[in-house]
């Protein structure tokens, strides 16, 4: 088996989820690397969209901002934020990747604050940005994050971005688009999806070298277990070569 770090593993796992012909809205960092890797391997016709307006670029190197010139390099269109978000709301955005300081058992995310006084928070984070928008509009929302019990909490102290809200059909009842929601959570240890009825997070695959106990010890709530938990296939030599040589040669993301 090839030698790789956890960031490379998460990116390669995420890239495999993006099928050819799909449309993905990405931010900077690991999500962008996953989309670029997918485009350069099994999904050459993957449409990459950036929230500030970059539509279908041939991203030449890691963008630093979702609005910098790399996001429109050889693009099909330089558009704007309203157009990109409206495209999502119309139902043409298949995937997005998001993250946060907290994620709960229903895939809700906190990227706003820690502490109860909203006007004077203990710790302030950037806020939603486009996360609440993308999570509401994309058919399938995914998260790449380290497995850590401080991050995987039973209930987010503040919900910036909707997951399955309170589970069951609560998300659709709120008025959010029917059929869209959290899809896969990819960590350094495992891959989770959501049990179809309760919409609770469910472990479906383990990365090589990790057991169920490792994941449970690093998760702040009880995970549902799939009937069959498989071993997540490790990155191939080819995936790693493309990731290292073409996607992120300066190791901005995979060197973290």
């Amino acid at each position: 088996m090839a030698d790789f770090n956890t960031m490379e593993l998460m990116i390669c796992t995420a890239a495999r989820e993006l099928e050819d012909g799909a449309c993905v809205g990405v931010g900077t960092g690991a999500p962008c690397a996953a989309a670029m890797l997918a485009q350069k391997t099994k999904s050459p016709n993957l449409t990459i969209i950036f929230e500030a307006g970059g539509v279908a670029p041939l991203v030449p190197e890691m963008p630093i901002s979702v609005g910098d010139s790399r996001t429109t390099w050889k693009a099909c269109m330089a558009s704007g934020m309203p157009d990109v978000m409206e495209t999502g709301c119309r139902g043409m955005l298949d995937y997005t990747f998001l993250g946060g300081a907290e994620i709960d058992m229903y895939g809700n995310l906190n990227s706003t604050r820690i502490g109860s006084d909203h006007q004077k928070p203990k710790v302030r984070f950037p806020g939603s940005g486009g996360a609440n928008d993308f999570a509401s509009f994309a058919w399938r929302m995914m998260v790449m994050t380290p497995q850590d019990s401080k991050r995987f909490v039973e209930r987010c102290t503040y919900v910036t971005t909707p997951g399955w809200i309170n589970g069951g059909d609560s998300r659709a009842k709120c008025g959010l688009a029917v059929g869209a929601g959290p899809y896969k959570i990819i960590t350094n240890m495992a891959v989770m999806d959501f049990e179809p009825d309760s919409k609770r997070m469910r472990i479906v695959a383990l990365n090589h070298g990790f057991g169920l106990k490792d994941v449970e010890e690093n998760c702040g709530f009880e995970l549902i277990k799939a009937a069959k938990i498989i071993e997540n296939p490790p990155p191939t030599e080819q995936e790693l070569a493309i990731l290292r040589e073409e996607v992120d040669p300066y190791r901005y993301v995979i060197g973290r």
Partner: protein, 330 residues
């Protein structure tokens, strides 16, 4: 229309479309020169207490010269649209010039990390906040640009982002589906950096527009800085290129490299060394004060700022970097 639920946040600007119409009724449509300096434009058009919107995307096509001038003129009690705000937010936080903020994205500089000073400012309790998202802020500008008082959107429901916003949830009269309604955002002043403009304020931009189409149309006053002035004949030769018409604009300032240290599409890339230095120096209050004196308070204008940070040589390197020319990498 029945309101099912409402956020607890405050609306910092009046969404009333008739009041806005009354303002725009008296706004000049005259095709006259609006050419001025950044110093004059900030002095004349931005008043203490005004609500301002900054065009571009944080550190991409941002009107840096105007933001620095706002600090030099010690403007205070401003309202701010924290819409995709990154380095612009960092600058305005350094001067503590605002005391209320509509938040979509603040404090962070995306992949570069978080600004310690901006974060401390937002944790101090000195800034009143209302939460939104990037798209909902775009929709608020869209409503205002369309001359209506709200825009329906299909997100924010079920989250604390809604709870701490000033939005409302209601039902569609045609389908019965729930929608979030966001109030129109008419800013007092918008500040936008464009690639090209004529002296009347007709503007051209290349690359992505972010929300600037709607920001320019919905703001009561608009200050334009541009990389270069072009003749009105050139505007009229190809009107398809115009994205802001002259009657929206109140001031035009020619500021080459006006987005530095930010990125300007097909002109120059961002100065990552300088932005890294900003983030680093903020951790030490003494060093940060010196840094601000060197780069903002102690300089006359944007040219002097650029000269203190590598001058034309640096600009050439950033131009080459923008086009990914071999050997231009830092």
């Amino acid at each position: 229309m029945d309101v099912i639920e409402k956020g607890v946040g405050r609306i910092f600007t009046d969404p009333d479309a008739d009041k806005a119409r009354e303002f725009f009724r008296h706004k000049s449509r005259a095709l006259v020169s609006k050419l001025t300096t950044v110093k004059e434009a900030v002095k004349e058009l931005i008043k203490d207490g005004d609500y301002i919107s900054v065009g571009g995307f944080g550190a991409n096509r941002v009107p840096i010269s105007v933001l620095h001038e706002i600090l030099r003129q010690k403007k205070k009690d401003l309202g701010l649209a924290g819409h995709t705000a990154t380095h612009d937010f960092q600058i305005l936080s350094a001067g503590k010039v605002f005391n209320r903020c509509d938040i979509a994205y603040i404090i962070g500089l995306e992949a570069r990390g978080l600004s310690p000073n901006a974060r401390a400012y937002m944790q101090s309790g000195d800034v009143e906040v209302t939460e939104w998202t990037n798209y909902t802020m775009s929709a608020r500008y869209k409503a205002a640009a369309a001359g209506v008082s709200f825009h329906p959107i299909r997100n924010m429901m079920g989250t604390d982002t809604f709870k701490y916003s000033a939005a409302a949830i209601s039902e569609c009269p045609f389908t019965g589906q729930k929608y979030t309604l966001v109030p129109a955002l008419y800013s007092d002043v918008a500040v936008i950096h464009a690639h090209e403009a004529d002296i009347y304020g007709n503007c051209r931009v290349r690359g992505i527009l972010m929300s600037d189409w709607d920001i320019a149309r919905s703001s009561k006053k608009v200050i334009i800085t541009c990389e270069r002035l072009i003749p009105n004949d050139e505007i009229r030769r190809d009107p398809t290129m115009t994205f802001i018409p002259y009657y929206c604009v109140d001031a035009v300032c020619e500021v080459p490299y006006g987005s530095y240290p930010g990125n300007m599409y097909q002109e120059y890339f961002s100065d990552e060394d300088h932005l890294r230095e900003w983030l680093k120096v903020e951790k030490d209050p003494e060093a940060f004060k010196k840094f601000l004196d060197k780069n903002i308070y102690g300089v006359q204008d944007h040219f002097e700022y650029i000269e203190r940070n590598g001058g034309i040589r640096k600009m050439q390197m950033l131009r080459q970097k923008e086009w990914l020319f071999r050997g231009a990498r830092q």
